[in-house]
C-alpha cells in the first residue's frame, strides 16, 4: 500500500502499454527541461563565480559555500571560523516551520477528527469549507493577515475595545507576525490529509477498545492516532516543507529583521545582494534539507502503513 501511494497508485490496466513512451514524452520533456535540468543547473551555478549585480562568470569557485559556512573576517584575512549568520537564518526557519507545523496540528487534528465523525452528508460541506482557503490565493491571504495584524488593525482595535490591552500590540515586523502568518497560510494543508486518513479509519476499532473499557482519551492516543499516522505525516510534510521555504509570510509580516531562508534566497536574485552563486548554494542547501526530511518521513510513513495494514 505504501509503495502504491508513493508511485501514484497501481495501474488499473495495461491497455495503453505499447504507446506509453509517446504518452509520457510531453510530461518528461516539459518537466525534465523546465524543472529537473534547471535544478542541476542550479547545483552548477552554486560552484561558479559571481558577477557583479547578478549573473555568473563560468569559472569554478567555492566562494558561495565558503561565504555560507566560513567567516574570514571583514577583509578576508582573519583565521577562518564558522560563520553563524546564515546557519542561524536556517535554524530559525527550521524552528519557525516546526512551530507552525505543531500549531497547525493542534488546531488541525481536532478539526479533521470532528469533520470525519459527522454524518456523511454534512462531511462534504465541512470539507468544502476547508478546501476553499486551501486553493485561494496565498498572496491575498497573507496581505489580509497583514491588514488584520497592523498596529491600528482590526485585531488591535478589538483587543483594546474589550480592554485586554491598553496599547496596541506590535505584531507586524516581528517573529510572532511571521509565526502567525505561517500557521495561517498552511493550516488547510494540515486538515485535508488528516481528514482523508481519519475518514478511512474504521471506528469499529474504537468500538472494540471501548468495549474493553478503554477511556476515550486512551482510545484516541492508543488506537486512533497510530492508525491515522500516514495522514499525520502527510499533513506535517505539507505544512513543514512550504513553511521552510516560505517567502511571503516573512516578507509581508516579518520585515527586514525577521529573515527566513526564502527571504535570504530572494535577496540574492531580486534584491540588492545580487549574488547568484550564493543564492544557488542557499537553494541547494534548502533543497537538501527538504529531501532529507521527506526521506525520513517517507520511511516513517512506509513503516506506519505496514503496521496498519
Amino acid at each position: 500500500m505504501a509503495g502504491g501511494a508513493a508511485s501514484g497508485g497501481d495501474a488499473t490496466s495495461d491497455a495503453y502499454a505499447p504507446a506509453r513512451g509517446w504518452l509520457l514524452l510531453p510530461a518528461w520533456l516539459v518537466l525534465g527541461l523546465v524543472v529537473l535540468v534547471p535544478v542541476f543547473l542550479m547545483l552548477v551555478y552554486s560552484f561558479l563565480t559571481k558577477e557583479f549585480r547578478g549573473g555568473v562568470i563560468w569559472e569554478f569557485s567555492l566562494a558561495a559555500y565558503d561565504q555560507f559556512f566560513i567567516d574570514r573576517g571583514l577583509f578576508g584575512d582573519d583565521p577562518p571560523r564558522i560563520e553563524w549568520a546564515y546557519i542561524q537564518i536556517f535554524w530559525r526557519s527550521i524552528w519557525q516551520a516546526g512551530v507552525a507545523t505543531l500549531l497547525c496540528l493542534i488546531i488541525g487534528f481536532p478539526t479533521a477528527y470532528f469533520i470525519a465523525t459527522r454524518p456523511a452528508q454534512q462531511r462534504n460541506i465541512w470539507v468544502f469549507l476547508i478546501t476553499i482557503p486551501y486553493w485561494v490565493n496565498l498572496l491575498i491571504r497573507t496581505v489580509s493577515m497583514r491588514f488584520i495584524l497592523r498596529d491600528q488593525g482590526p485585531l488591535n482595535d478589538f483587543l483594546q475595545w474589550v480592554g485586554v490591552i491598553g496599547e496596541p500590540l506590535t505584531i507586524i515586523n516581528t517573529n510572532l507576525g511571521v509565526q502567525i502568518g505561517l500557521f495561517y497560510s498552511y493550516l488547510p494543508f494540515m486538515v485535508l490529509p488528516l481528514y482523508a486518513a481519519i475518514e478511512r479509519y474504521n471506528f469499529a476499532l474504537s468500538e472494540a477498545a471501548a468495549d474493553l473499557y478503554a477511556p476515550r482519551h486512551k482510545i484516541l492516543t492508543r488506537v486512533v492516532l497510530p492508525a491515522v499516522k500516514p495522514g499525520l505525516i502527510a499533513g506535517c510534510i505539507l505544512v513543514f516543507v512550504p513553511s521552510l521555504g516560505s517567502f511571503l509570510a516573512p516578507d509581508l509580516l516579518g520585515g527586514a529583521r525577521n529573515f527566513m531562508i526564502g527571504s535570504l534566497i530572494d535577496e540574492q536574485f531580486k534584491g540588492s545582494a545580487g549574488n547568484w552563486p550564493f543564492g544557488a548554494a542557499a537553494s541547494m542547501i534548502l533543497l537538501t534539507l527538504v529531501l532529507l526530511v521527506l526521506m525520513v518521513l517517507a520511511r516513517q510513513q512506509a513503516r506506519a502503513a505496514r503496521g496498519a495494514g
Binding site: A17, L23, A27, P38, M42, V136
Partner: protein, 268 residues
C-alpha cells in the same frame, strides 16, 4: 461500517473546528468588508461604497491592473490547457500502461514541483532561462506556469482514471470498437469531470502564483499577484483590497465549480 462514529466525538473538538474556520475566514471577510469602505484611509469606516471598485477600472492605476489582468488570465488559460493535455496523456500511460520500469521515477518527476519548495523551483527556472539566454518576459512566465501546473492537473485526472475500470473499454473493444474509438467514445467522456477539475485547479494555481512568476517575469511584465505585491509594499491601499476581493471571489467560484464537477459520477 461507520458504527456510531458520533460516540467518539470529543466535545471540545467542535469548538476548535469553529475556531479553525474562524481563523481561516475572518481575515478574508475583513478585507472584503473594508473593500467597500467609502474612505481614503484603510483604518476608519465611513460607510458603504463601490468607489474603490470603480477606481480599479478607471482610476490612476487602472491601466496597470488591466494589463496585469490580461497577462494573468491569458497565461492561466494557455498554461492550464497545455498542462491538462500533457497531464491527461501522462495519466493514460501511468494508469492504463501496466507496470514499467520508469513508473516510480516518472511519478517522482511529475510530483517534483509540489514537493520542492516553490522558491527553489523559482531559482532553478530563472537560472535555466538565464543560461540559455532566453529574455525574461511573457513567454518565460508562460513556460514556467505550464511546467508547475502539470502536477496539479495530473492528480485529479489520474485519480479519476483510477476510478474507471478498464472493463468499460474492454467491452467496447470486444464489440469491435477500435482502440481510438474506445478512447474517444468511452474513456474520454467518463474522464471528462476529472479533466475539467484538473484544468480548473491548474488555472487557479497559475492565476494565483506569485513566487515563481516574480522570479521569471521580465521588467515591466506584471501579473495580478506581482502587481498586487508591488503595491502592497508601499502600503495596503483600498483599491488593492477591492482587486483582492474580486480575485478572491473569482477563485472561490472556480474552486466551487471544480469541487462539484469532480463529484459527477458517470460510471453509473
Amino acid at each position: 461500517m461507520r458504527v456510531g462514529a458520533d460516540r467518539f466525538a470529543f466535545p471540545g473538538f467542535r469548538t476548535l473546528t469553529f475556531l479553525c474556520l474562524f481563523i481561516l475566514y475572518a481575515p478574508l471577510l475583513v478585507v472584503t468588508v473594508y473593500s467597500f469602505n467609502d474612505s481614503r484611509s484603510i483604518t476608519t469606516w465611513e460607510g458603504f461604497s463601490l468607489r474603490w471598485y470603480v477606481d480599479v477600472f478607471v482610476g490612476p492605476d487602472s491601466a496597470k491592473f488591466k494589463s496585469a489582468a490580461f497577462n494573468s488570465f491569458s497565461i492561466a488559460l494557455i498554461a492550464a490547457s497545455v498542462a491538462t493535455a500533457v497531464a491527461t496523456s501522462a495519466a493514460l500511460a501511468m494508469v492504463r500502461g501496466g507496470r514499467f520500469k520508469l513508473r516510480t521515477a516518472t511519478f517522482g518527476l511529475i510530483s517534483l514541483p509540489i514537493l520542492v519548495p516553490e522558491i527553489v523551483t523559482a531559482v532553478a527556472i530563472l537560472i535555466f532561462f538565464n543560461t540559455i539566454g532566453f529574455t525574461r518576459g511573457y513567454m518565460t512566465i508562460l513556460i514556467a506556469h505550464i511546467a508547475f501546473c502539470i502536477p496539479f492537473a495530473y492528480l485529479p485526472i489520474s485519480a479519476r482514471m483510477q476510478g474507471i475500470e478498464g472493463s468499460f473499454e474492454q467491452a467496447a473493444m470486444d464489440l469491435y470498437a477500435t482502440r481510438a474509438q474506445a478512447f474517444r467514445r468511452i474513456l474520454l467522456p467518463m474522464m471528462m469531470p476529472g479533466i475539467f477539475a484538473g484544468f480548473l485547479l491548474a488555472f487557479i494555481i497559475s492565476l494565483d502564483d506569485f513566487i515563481i512568476t516574480n522570479f521569471v517575469k521580465g521588467a515591466g511584465v506584471e501579473t495580478l499577484p506581482t502587481a498586487i505585491f508591488g503595491s502592497v509594499k508601499q502600503g495596503i491601499r483600498p483599491n488593492i483590497m477591492a482587486i483582492s476581493t474580486m480575485l478572491l471571489a473569482f477563485s472561490t467560484v472556480i474552486v466551487t465549480l471544480s469541487w462539484f464537477i469532480s463529484r459527477i459520477d458517470r460510471t453509473k
